[in-house]
Amino acid sequence: MTKIILAVLALVAAPLLGALITGVDRRITAWLQSRYGPPILQPIYDVLKLLGKEPMVTNTWQAVCAYVYIVGAALSVVLLFTGSDLLLIFFVLTVGAVFLVMGALASPSPYSQIGGQRELLQMLAYEPLLILVFAAIAMVTGSFKVSAVYELSRPLLYDLPLMYIVLGYALTIKLRKSPFDISASAHAHQELVRGVYTEYSGPFLAMIEIAHWYEVILVLGLCALFWSTSVVGMVVLVAVTYLAEIIVDNVTARLTWRFMLKSAVGMGLALTVVNMLWLYAQ
């Protein structure tokens, strides 16, 4: 029963919370850029407006892909909230990501095509990192189940400090934040043509925005796992992490995908190995 309540909560509350966070993100970004910025509810207004528009696509597959993307994103959040398997959450998240790319590749527009290719590179960079983080969590808890994390007596962060950095790196790529907003920018401050999103408009773009909110929550939920012992700890950790993401987003320029791939894999592996050795030594 509690699982069903949690699932419903995840379905309904997660996008709203995600929207609010995105709104706050925009305000802080504006503040950092000495602008006034939109109201915090602006992302919701935007999406409501998009939903009211007439659907237009270049290819009917785009509609399919937009919907499957949101289903994948929502389902992964539900799985996280109900304490399911970390790898399973990751795989379901991949379903969404794969369909987003397929939707981008389905359009013959070169901007969309390049966006799709770059999104694939982003996936190639963050996916191994996420699996490594999950594997490290499993090393500590002895299980891939999210529920096992909550049975720990002390925060994961104590055992896996370096893996948290790896996670942060992966999340910057996953959320397409600068310096890794390579396939599309979450904000329009760098990208005139929006990569994978180029061909989406109206309700389908709204779907993608909502899916993005789900992903923000998923990502922050994963961060929260690192301080699973207290709610306050979770909130503080998540808030600090997201603030750091925003600042990094604003003070860096976009880097090339070559740098992203090499640094993500290289740094991810190095930190993982060090953290694991430390864990073994304990």
Partner: protein, 639 residues
């Protein structure tokens, strides 16, 4: 009844093959092939219902097998001499001498070992061979007709082609059912010969060259196999696989001597499964007609290689050797996934992904826990179905558009909507939940938990896998307005495509049943524990949980809803793609308005990341490392 079933699955293909060789009437060949396919499929299902068994045919057959061994060896020797290939000549000569010594001087009680035995692992293999393999043979009817029309042959080579295809199926069934290792050796050599003949089928210079390479590599494996069983006979005193397996746990504790024959047999399996550094024979085999590639990659040949490695896993469980097998598998999994990502040739992508998946199976055998063995068997099953499907799709596509390059498959949906959709289903079943392949991958990764080096390689490898499948699926959809007209296709081509696509999904849906009835019994037999419980059909263990039905239902509903929404989109709502305001469409192909108002078509290409995944550069390093791991495996394992 049992006699009949073994006869039908093993011997009947040999007889049918002989008939097909002399038969030149096309329609009759079609009838016989379809009927044989049906009979084989039914027999394999009936055999599955019957369950495990042991069987010894009349002593006469023993002599026939011995005769067969020598016939094959002399044929191979003859080929080696004709091609002046020293490796083949010397290795075959060594085998002939060793076999004479084993058959006539060492073995006292020749017929006392039961020839056949089957447990659920063998039965799963028989199902895969008889159903997937038969479907490929049926597909071959339509494919070869068109293939030969392209080649403008004066005299059809189809009798010979189908002779080896059907023979192959019988030999594979014999191999997986064999209990007596000498019998297995015979069937093992049979598959080597069949693959050699089929790869060289078209008779072009490159086909001959690649066939010869496949032959020498597999002869090397065959030699290792023969010396492996000779040593095994010396150490254990029997050639009965069942006896060896039953005493497996003792060996695992004793270690030492038994690991040398184990290494030889596992090595033989690795050559057959085209693992690095022997991957080139399988990628070279791409020159053969597509049904051959499909057969080699899904239900025969390479599966024999992993079968023997998984089969023997309980014997080397808990040894350092097993760890090295896992490490080797994980390395090749990652390395060949990278090679696949660097390719634009569709068949080559499939080839490298096969090697990569087989390596994952080998890694699972090496991890050697109940969960890992479950993953290995599941991978064999689901990979056979999905990979056969993918190959048959590429074959059909190639015959229609004249290219197997994925760049040329851009917008395929407009040209071949049905085949494109089936291919996309095939790709989805390869890499996404809730399908069986991914579930097995999930099991594999979770069972590698605690072995960090393995985990890193599996993590990197699965990331790369998503890359090359995803872009292939996406670009087939890339049409301006997605309304294609259904393409015409021979029924013998279309039916196998549809059946395999259906199987890939349905068998995934019933994966809890598959696990309960086919996989868990095998694992329980050798490992005494069962890795997963199935509350509500979800795979659950201490390590993790995989929700089969919730995912099927929710993702299925999501897709259904998405398709319904997409259908609502009217033609008026289809717009031209964004071209930065410089849009110019000619013949429905979008492009840019260039200088002097010239039309510049919009083109795009995939990133193949040559600097990271270039075949030339990577292969050399991969071969060196793989060879090094093999050498360490031999010495490190024996210590």
């Amino acid at each position: 009844m049992l006699d009949t079933l073994v006869f039908v699955t093993v011997l009947l293909p040999f007889l049918v093959a002989a008939v097909l060789l002399v038969l030149r009437e096309q329609n009759l060949r079609k009838v016989i092939l379809v009927a044989t396919a049906g009979v084989l499929a039914l027999a394999s299902l009936a055999m599955l219902r019957g369950g495990a068994f042991i069987m010894s045919p009349a002593p006469l057959y023993d002599s026939l097998i011995t005769l067969g061994d020598f016939v094959i060896l002399f044929v191979v020797l003859f080929v080696g001499m004709k091609r002046k290939n020293q490796i083949i000549i010397w290795l075959t000569a060594a085998q002939i001498i060793a076999l004479i010594w084993l058959d006539f001087f060492t073995l006292k009680e020749h017929g006392s070992v039961p020839a056949f035995f089957a447990d659920d692992l063998s039965l799963v293999m028989v199902l895969v061979i008889s159903i997937v393999g038969s479907l490929i043979a049926v597909y071959g009817i339509g494919y070869m007709k068109e293939h030969e029309e392209h080649l403008h042959l004066t005299k059809s080579k189809q009798p010979q082609f189908f002779f080896f295809i059907v023979l192959f199926l019988g030999a594979m069934n014999g191999l997986v059912l064999a209990n007596n290792l000498l019998w297995m050796y015979f069937f093992w050599e049979c598959t080597t010969l069949c693959s050699f003949m089929l790869i060289g089928h078209d008779g072009t210079e490159i086909a001959r060259k690649n066939a010869e390479r496949a032959l020498w590599m597999n002869v090397l494996g065959g030699t290792a196999f023969l010396f492996g069983i000779i040593l095994l006979q010396k150490i254990v005193g029997t050639l009965s696989l069942q006896d060896i397996l039953a005493r497996g746990p003792q060996f695992a504790v004793a270690g030492g001597a038994i690991l040398v024959p184990m290494f030889l047999l596992v090595f033989a399996g690795m050559t057959k499964a085209a693992q690095a550094p022997f991957q080139s024979w399988l990628t070279g085999a791409m020159v053969a007609p597509t049904p051959v590639s499909a057969l080699l990659h899904s239900s025969t040949m390479v599966k024999a290689g992993v079968y023997i490695i998984v089969r023997l896993a309980p014997v080397y469980a808990g040894t350092y050797f097993s760890n090295f097998v896992a490490l080797f598998g994980a390395f090749v999994f990652l390395a060949t996934a990278c090679l696949a990502a660097g390719q634009s040739n569709g068949k080559k992508i499939l080839a490298y992904s096969t090697i990569s998946n087989l390596a994952l199976i080998i890694a699972c055998a090496g991890i050697n826990t109940p969960a890992a063995i479950t993953a290995a068997i599941m991978l064999i099953l689901f990979h056979a179905i999905s990979k056969a499907l993918m190959f048959l799709c590429v074959g059909a596509i190639e015959q229609k558009i004249g290219s197997r390059d994925i760049e040329d498959m851009r917008g395929l949906f407009a040209v071949m909507p049905r085949t494109a959709l089936v291919a996309i289903i095939g790709i989805m079943t390869m890499m996404l939940p809730p399908f069986g392949m991914l579930m097995a991958k999930w099991m594999a990764i979770e069972s590698a938990q605690g072995q960090f080096l393995l985990m890193i390689m599996l993590a990197l490898g699965s990331g790369v896998t998503v890359l090359f499948w995803c872009r292939w699926a996406g670009l087939m959809l890339g049409t301006p307005v997605a309304k294609g007209r259904p393409e015409a296709q021979d029924i013998t081509v279309r039916a196998p495509l549809y059946i395999l696509a259906g199987l890939a999904m349905v068998v995934s849906f019933f994966s809890p049943v598959v696990y309960n009835t086919l996989v868990a019994p095998v694992v329980a037999m050798y490992y005494k524990t069962v890795p997963y419980t199935l509350p509500y059909g979800n795979f659950d263990s201490k390590m993790g949980i995989f929700l089969v039905y919730p995912l099927f239902i929710l993702l299925g509903l999501g897709l259904f809803f998405a398709l319904r929404q997409a259908r609502k989109v009217t033609a008026a709502q289809c717009s031209q793609p964004y071209m930065c305001g410089e849009q110019l469409t000619v013949d429905g192909k979008p492009g840019f308005l260039g200088p002097l108002n010239q039309y510049v078509p919009a083109t795009a290409g995939n990133y193949y990341l040559a600097q990271f995944f270039g075949e030339e550069m990577l292969s050399r390093w991969i071969n060196v490392i793989a060879l090094a791991v093999l050498v360490i495996m031999l010495f490190g394992g024996a210590l």
